[in-house]
Symmetry: C2
Subunit: 271 residues, 2 copies
C-alpha cells in the first residue's frame, strides 16, 4: 500500500518544497521508502536535494511528452539510510511548457498516473511537490494523489487563498479523482510567539472542526503538529543541496520536521 | 512628471504587496500623490488598504474589458495626509480571466497604458502591484511602467528566479517598452543577523556592480537601503485593512519602509 500525497498551495513561497524535501528525508530516516516527484518547473526540490536540473537526463517532462519516455528505472536515488530511501523524479525548466501544452490533451492527465502505477510497488510514500499555481502540473499531481497536504503560513493574507484551494480540490475530486482527500495543513515559517499566528491557527482549527461530518474532501483534515518554526537554517540548507538533517540535524527546523514526519508516519501505520 | 514603477517578482509571497502598500502610504505621508494599481486577481493590495474586492464597483478588470469602462474619476481615494494622497485602482478576482483572455488581443496591452496616460497628471507616483507570475497582467504592468522594482528575500532559492525575471524585463524592453529600467531590489522579510542573508545580499550587490556600463535594463540597479526586517506587525496589519503606519507606526517594519520611501523619493527629487 502506498501513501500518495500532493503538497499543494497556489500561493508562492509558503514552504511546499521545504516541507516535501525535509519530510521525505525524515521519513526515509525512519527506514521507509519515499519517492519525490518534482512537478515544479522551478525545480527547487531537485536543487534542494543536490541535483542539477540542467544536467538531468530524464525528468517529469519526459514523462509528459508524446509519446512519454518511460522511466521507472530512471528514478534517481538521492538518499539512503539503512532500509530508507529517497527517490527523485527531477524537474527541468522545460516542463513549464507542459503547463500549457497539456491543455489540449486530456490523455496526458493519464501519463503521470500510469507512471505512478508502475512504481507504486517500490515506494511506500510518494510526494508531489506542486508549483505555485492551479495549472496543469498541479492538476496532474491532484489527479494522481489520494491526499492533499497544504503547507502554509499562519498569516491573514495566507488564509485568503485557502478557500480557492479547497474549491479546486473539490472540483478535481468530483471530476477526475473521487478518492482525493485533504489530510491537512503543515504550518510553515511559524512565528509561534505572536498572537496573530495563534489567531490564524485557531481560525483554521475551528474551520476544520466545523467541517467534520460534512460531505467535503476536507472533512477529516487537521493541522499537523508541531508547526514548523521559522529557522534560517531551513533557508540555508538548499544552497548546499542538503536537507536539514544533513545541514543542521538538531536545529529547531530539523526537530520540527522530524516531529511532523513522526506523526505523519504514525497516522499511516495506525490505519 | 510621473514616476511609474512595476513591483514585480514571479515568485510568490516575497513581499510585493506589502512593499507597494506601505511604500505608497509612506510616500503619501511625505505629502506626495501616489496611485496604486492592483493588478493581482488575489486583490491583496486592495484588501490590505481596507477595501473589499467583492463590493468594488469599478476595477482593473473593467479597464481591460472590451470595450473598456473608463474610470479616471472612479479611482478610490484610500488615504489622505495633508497634500499627500493614496489612490487605488482595485482588483477583483474576475481579472484572473484576463491572464488568458488578453492573449488574443495585443490591443488590450494598450488599454491599461491609455488609462495611465489619462491619470498621470493627477499623480506623481504610480505603483503597479503585480501578481506572482510572468503572465499577461504582469506584462501589462511592465508595458505601462518606466521602472521595475523587485521585492525579494535574501534566500538562496529566491536568487534562482532573478535571472528569469531580468530576462523577461529585457524581452519586454526590447519588444514593447524600450524605456523600461530595473531600478533595483527591495529586500523583504530580512533576517539581518544571519550570514546567509549577508552572503545573498553581497551576491546581489556584486552582480549589479558588474552590470554597470553594460547595455542591459539593470545597469543602473541597486539594492535599496535599508533592508526591511522581518516583523510580524507587517503581517498583522493587512488583517485590519491598515498600512503599517496606521497599525504600528514606530515598529521596526514601519521604520524600515519609511526609510526606504525616503531614499526612493530623494533619488527621484534629485533628478
Ligand atoms: N521554516 C522556515 N524557516 C525559514 N525559512 C524557510 C522556512 N521554510 C521555508 N523557508 C524558506 O522560505 C522560502 C520559500 O520556501 P519554499 O521554497 O519551500 O516555498 P514554496 O511554497 O515551495 O515556494 P514556491 O511557491 O516558489 O514553490 C525558501 O527560501 C525557503 O528556504
Ligand atoms: N517584513 C515582513 N515581516 C513579516 N511578514 C511579512 C513581511 N513582509 C511581508 N510579510 C508577510 O508575508 C506574506 C507575503 O507577503 P506579500 O503578500 O507582500 O508577498 P507577495 O509577493 O505580494 O505575495 P504574492 O506573490 O502572493 O502576491 C504576507 O502574509 C505578508 O503579510
Ligand atoms: Mg516550491
Ligand atoms: Mg501580492
Amino acid at each position: 500500500l502506498t501513501r500518495t500525497v500532493a503538497f499543494m498551495n497556489q500561493k508562492g513561497g509558503v514552504g511546499k518544497t521545504t516541507t516535501v524535501v525535509n519530510l521525505a528525508h525524515a521519513v526515509c530516516e525512519q527506514g521507509r521508502r519515499v519517492l519525490v516527484v518534482d512537478l515544479d518547473p522551478q525545480a527547487h526540490a531537485t536543487l534542494h536535494l543536490g541535483v542539477d536540473p540542467e544536467s538531468v537526463e530524464w525528468s517529469v517532462y519526459d514523462l509528459l511528452l508524446d509519446p512519454p519516455v518511460a522511466g521507472s528505472d530512471r528514478v534517481l536515488k538521492v538518499r539512503e539510510e539503512g532500509t530508507g530511501v529517497v527517490g527523485l523524479v527531477p524537474a527541468v525548466t522545460d516542463q513549464a511548457a507542459a503547463e500549457h501544452e497539456l491543455a489540449d490533451e486530456a490523455d496526458r492527465m493519464g501519463r503521470l498516473a500510469r507512471f505512478i502505477d508502475g512504481v507504486k510497488h517500490e515506494y511506500e510514500f510518494i510526494f508531489f511537490d506542486c508549483p505555485p499555481s492551479l495549472g496543469l502540473l498541479t492538476l496532474n499531481g491532484l489527479a494522481c494523489a489520494k491526499e492533499v497536504i497544504v503547507p502554509m503560513q499562519a498569516h491573514f493574507l495566507a488564509l485568503q487563498g485557502v478557500g480557492k484551494l479547497l474549491e479546486t480540490v473539490q472540483l478535481v475530486g468530483q471530476g477526475v479523482n473521487d478518492q482525493l482527500r485533504v489530510s491537512g495543513v503543515v504550518l510553515c515559517m511559524h512565528d509561534e510567539q505572536t498572537r496573530h499566528a495563534r489567531e490564524v491557527v485557531d481560525d483554521l482549527k475551528t474551520f476544520f472542526k466545523e467541517s467534520r461530518g460534512l460531505d467535503v474532501p476536507w472533512s477529516g483534515a487537521r493541522v499537523y503538529d508541531p508547526p514548523v518554526r521559522r529557522n534560517i537554517k531551513l533557508a540555508e540548507a538548499p544552497s548546499f543541496g542538503e536537507t536539514i538533517f544533513e545541514y543542521a540535524k538538531w536545529c529547531p527546523g530539523a526537530q520540527d520536521y522530524r516531529a511532523v514526519a513522526k506523526s505523519f508516519v504514525d497516522e499511516w501505520d495506525a490505519l
